[in-house]
Symmetry: C2
Subunit: 90 residues, 2 copies
């Protein structure tokens, strides 16, 4: 199974958070202080956002990084490299 | 209280994950397929890593994004923008 690109998966996560918040891309862009087309590109999975941009999105949704990324887990298939998996701690 | 830059906080998180894994920066760089100086810069908090680089680090530690970011929560102070906080769900 080919793993879906992380940019695409993250884009869907952001779109879902935005829908859940009941706001438009314009509103999200304003809250996150990002350009509207940048937000649109992130949702389409064609951008590789930086840590600082991700932080702005998390703050706009008023969630922590961990919570922001939680919906990504279902589609995530980390390869085993070092030590054991930390998934499913909760 | 001035919030510490997210790059600095993330750098400390990565350093802690690396120490916990008992590996050197060289080894982490190799596992994550990133340049050694890039890993060093991330740990020093002078880089703003992209989503794809963050994914490589998470995979190198064999943890999910959420788990990778978990230690950051303690120092995080998200501003209230939209809706209620999702923190502390677990």
């Amino acid at each position: 199974m080919k793993e879906q690109d992380v940019k695409k998966r993250f884009g869907l996560v952001i779109k879902n958070w935005r829908k859940k918040s009941g706001i438009s891309q314009d509103e999200l862009a304003r809250h996150a202080e990002l350009h509207r087309t940048y937000v649109s590109d992130i949702e389409r999975g064609v951008r590789n956002p930086s840590l600082q941009s991700i932080e702005r999105l998390a703050k706009a949704f008023n969630v922590s990084f961990s919570t922001l990324f939680q919906p990504l887990e279902d589609t995530e298939m980390p390869s085993a490299e070092i030590g054991g998996s930390q998934k499913g701690k909760c």
